[in-house]
Symmetry: C2
Subunit: 206 residues, 2 copies
DNA sequence: GTGATGAAAAAATCATTGAAAATTTCATTT
DNA sequence: AAATGAAATTTTCAATGATTTTTTCATCAC
């Protein structure tokens, strides 16, 4: 029988000393940081520089071998424009944490652009795509149009949203969905109620 | 100044004769077939064989250069377990067709496993992921558990669904979301009403 | 004991290259 | 116009070597 060892298998076998046990505390922060860094296409060095820390340290932090100081976390959250709370969401039941995100305990990503509240629908960052729950307040408008190197799609849950795709205006209502990739986008909620959408982005940008 | 020509640029320049204009009729069927074939990892040859047609013919059909006979379409739909109607959805307003799918005009993918009605929320197949609108009838259960080489996530719109991920039972309610990749999955709607979900699959399998 | 560093070791990434496979083109037939 | 078959073209894939990125670890600091 042939056994195909993956690289990590091989790496594991090669290790003489058991190494510090990865994962100490609640330990997911490191993985989040790694996913965020990757979504920005930064190297360990890129991020370490901005944090005034060594590459080795960051590597350990991202693999949950060592914990960053609170001050580092604040700096990191800032660099990714996320609230510090993002890194401390209470993981519900143990088993669930890996697969399920309950309606009441989503991780909040922003409330920044005044009028747009985004929260994460996936248990973790990383992966091929990310799903975001977005609430557009009445009157809220995209601060400036954007183009992203991603494939995106969405579905309107409540209210209505006006979406401009390459300048063409589309009014979306509950049940409508959209899809674009590479086009220039803007939006505005011209309604009197919240517009609630589910937004899928691949690859992840947050 | 250096100009970097893409392959298709070069191909275009090389052409002496303008070639048959790609796209004749409503023309999207070909692209759909191509996306479906690719999602199955079939080659032109694989599919052509099953259709008893030449590879060249299929190539032309998929590029919307030539049209398949109705009989071919029936055969193709069958091979992909899709209703023939799937290939003939009325594209709404011209501009919209490429980006928007209205609540009322989704392409129906199946009603087959008795109790699960799926329709497509993306304007077309292909791309990095696909979004499906799924309605699970009361009492409906997954005929048999499955494992797919995909990353999947979903969001519960209405009703409730019981999802088993690697044998662990999760009860999902409106607003809850889930995410898995590679695990063994089954589901059942134990409620008395439809369970309505949005399901994201990457890469596309339909 | 854990955080942190710096440098060596290991692993992953990336551009090439040649061979094989898949796809497109097109002259010809139905 | 559909359809074919074979030649031409393009894409894919595996192997290789050079780089870059990441991990490991001995060591110092708190």
């Amino acid at each position: 029988m042939l056994i195909d060892l993956t690289n990590s298998d091989k790496a594991a076998m090669r290790q003489k000393t058991p190494q510090k046990a990865p994962l100490r505390s609640s330990g997911k922060i490191g993985s989040d940081i790694r996913a965020l860094r990757r979504s920005r296409n930064w190297t360990l060095n890129d991020l370490a520089e901005q944090l005034d820390r060594s590459v080795g340290w960051l590597s350990q932090v991202e693999r949950n071998v060592s914990e960053p100081a609170l001050d580092d976390i604040r700096k990191i959250a800032g660099l990714f424009s996320l609230p510090v709370s993002f890194f401390f969401t209470d993981a519900a039941v143990s088993d669930e944490a890996a697969y399920i995100v309950r309606a009441g305990s989503r991780r909040i990503m922003s409330d920044a652009p005044k009028g747009l509240a985004e929260s994460l629908l996936s248990p973790d960052l990383g992966g091929a795509f990310e799903i975001v729950h977005s609430v557009f307040a009445p009157g809220a408008a995209c601060p400036e149009s954007f183009v992203r190197p991603t494939e995106e799609a969405g579905y309107v849950l409540e209210g209505s949203l006006v979406l401009f795709i390459d300048g063409v205006r589309f009014e979306l209502y509950p049940g409508d969905s959209f899809h674009f990739a590479g086009e220039e986008i803007t939006w505005i909620n011209e309604g009197k109620t919240n517009a609630v959408l589910i937004w899928v982005i691949a690859p992840p940008v947050y």
